[in-house]
Amino acid sequence: MAEPRTVADPRPAEPAPKPGPAGAPAPGATRPPLRHRLAERGIDRLLLLLLPAVATLIALFLYPMMYGVGLSLQPRSGGIFANYVEFFTDPYQSGTVWKTMRLALPAALFNVLASVPIAYRLRGRFRGKRLLTAILVLPVTLGTVLVADGILRYFGPRGWFNRVLLELGLIDEPLRLIYNYWGVMFSLIITGFPFAFLLVLSYLSGIDPTLERAAATLGAGPWQRVRRITLPLLAPGLATTFILSFVLAFSVFPSANLVGEPADETRVMAIAAYQAAFERYDYTMASTIAVLMGAFELVVIALVLLWRGRLYTGHTGGKGA
């Protein structure tokens, strides 16, 4: 809720003149001590509390990353960009980009879109909400390997899924759902959905339910209320959720090996990097692929953020907004 202001003054208050040495100090005025001038700009000893976090970040993230970038520019043979040139000219390597995108984009999109109706139904209070949420979130705790094991049994040629379809006469021979694209897709959905769902649920709970009721009294039916009020307010949250789901799915590695076809259909970038590093011992190429993974992710993230930037992202009236 906005602070009540006098009606006559609709403009936001003028920012207070900057304290400290914004202009030339008045002649004769004594300059305040350096410590005070720094404190006015938010620099004081409290900043030291950031030191452990900054040190960790530099040691465990920034340094390895820069080291990797440096490594990728020192190929075994050729000029500094030789690895990059090789990656893009060898279809066996450059094809992994498409194979990864083909898994990560639809999986992230599905996880986000499937979360919306379920979270919409589950917001607010009702009996058994906790139990239902727990069941939906459970796969997070299982770990990829366990999920992969389950997928192999359930979706296998002799698994329940195919047996039921065969019994019902819907299919004549078992569907091939493991050791290929679909196996990895199922795994990405099972492990990625809970993250997306929890995020969407919290974004939805941040939207004031009175807004939809107000829309109802103005004549909007259920679908119009969702389309004109809830979805526009939820869209920035969906964009963020999509980005996180996408990043999660993009670095898929275990399930691409365990339930996919790592030699061909699900040879994702992570597998290519792994093979370069631990089968051919070419760390420079592995680093190149890792750097490119980051680059492609950033491209997708940038596109989504560009779209998100055009949306309304202010407060949505509810708790946690």
């Binding site: 906005a2 009175t210 009721r213």
Partner: protein, 373 residues
């Protein structure tokens, strides 16, 4: 204000009466609203008054269609409407937290109901402009609601509710989030809109002053039941019971022994206190409750007649608040009762004074009522 402006928001299809018959709403095992019967005439301003939890907001949400009824029915003339969803009732509603759509500009907020109704662009623009002019927000039309002050947001909410020319406007404590000065200003604004547009309005509030100032008729609710329905005058001067009296500013509710009774006059007395009052509620027995407003008292000059035969309450002044031409005094009687009065005389804490009230300003109720003790 020009006639054209008024025309564009005047309700198109009015109605003769809106009847709530035995409207009941339960939440689990608790009854929020019990058997509410109320007939609202077209053009009337009704205030539902009561403390929080009395069922007034429940009644409003039932009217709006935001809460299904547990029992009873609502009729618009001879059409039953309590089974219609909110979007098909054609009522405008103003919410306590305004409920403006934060992602839409003021203009698109106000135009929302018209856009849903697929009103042609030209007409929509004209009607939105006129509604904005009516609430004096024309220059803010293209801002997002978050950029406006509380009072401005409330005016957007009102414009949004009336631009659809509703049969009925429902207001749920619309002023409770505003500061005191703005509240008075908006109160006048709402009254002015009602008078110039003739909009039938149901207004929920816990503030008796607001209800008295705005309403044609007041419905006083307590614990889901109606205690009294009447004009502000009736409810103010003749509350049916001590609960309504307490709500209407009768701060002194004194349970006292009855000394004598003749016709509609009763004399209540105890050491240091004697009051003659008007009987408002039949009772038997030897105790009764006297209800007196703080401004019903005046100071008795010293030595005015013999003790025990004239009315008066001897009090020791404890707290004095300055209120301009008057002071609000809290005093204690010999028997330890607290008396609130507003007096023209300047008194100081520790003073011993005697106050009295004329019989017509002392209302006597049976001993069963609430005194808030």
């Amino acid at each position: 204000m020009s006639g054209g402006v008024v025309e564009s928001v005047r309700p198109q299809d009015g109605f003769e009466t809106l009847r709530m018959e035995g409207v009941t709403r339960r939440f689990g095992s608790s009854v929020a609203l019990s058997d509410l019967n109320l007939t609202i005439r077209g053009g009337e301003f009704i205030a539902l008054l009561g403390p929080s939890g009395c069922g007034k907001s429940t009644a409003l949400n039932c009217l709006a269609g935001l809460l299904p009824l547990s029992g009873g029915s609502i009729w618009l003339d001879d059409r039953r409407i309590d089974t219609l969803p909110p979007e098909r009732r054609g009522f405008g509603m103003v919410f306590q937290n305004y409920a403006l759509f934060p992602h839409l500009s003021v203009r698109r907020n106000v135009g929302f109901g018209l856009a849903i109704r697929k009103v042609p662009k030209d007409e929509m623009r004209r009607r939105v402009d006129e509604a904005l002019k009516l609430v004096e927000l024309t220059e803010h039309a293209d801002k997002l609601p978050g950029r406006l002050s509380g009072g401005q947001q409330q005016r957007v909410a009102i414009a949004r509710a009336i631009v659809i020319r509703p049969r009925l406007v429902l207001m749920d404590e619309p002023l409770s989030n505003l500061d005191a000065k703005l509240r008075l200003q908006m109160r006048t604004e709402i009254r002015r809109l009602h008078q110039s547009l003739g909009l039938t309005t149901v207004y929920v509030t816990h503030d008796q002053e607001e209800a008295l100032a705005l309403a044609d008729r007041i419905v006083v609710l307590r614990a889901g039941r109606v205690d009294q329905v009447g004009t502000p005058e009736e409810v103010y001067t003749d509350p049916v019971n001590t609960y309504v009296a307490g709500f209407m500013g009768y701060r002194n509710l004194l349970r006292l022994p009855v000394a004598s009774r003749s016709g509609d006059r009763a004399v209540l007395a105890e050491p240091g206190l004697r009051l003659t009052g008007t009987v408002r509620e039949e009772f038997t027995g030897d105790t009764a409750i006297a209800a007196i407003r703080p401004d019903g008292f005046r100071v008795v000059p010293e030595g005015g007649g013999s003790e025990g035969e004239r009315d008066g309450i001897r009090i020791t002044v404890e707290v004095v608040e300055f209120h301009g031409r008057e002071v609000a005094v809290e005093g204690v009687t010999e028997t330890g009762r607290v008396i609130h009065c507003r007096l023209a005389e300047r008194v100081a804490p520790g003073d011993k004074i005697e106050v009295c009230a004329p019989p017509e300003r002392v209302l006597v109720y049976g001993p069963g009522g609430e005194t808030g003790e």
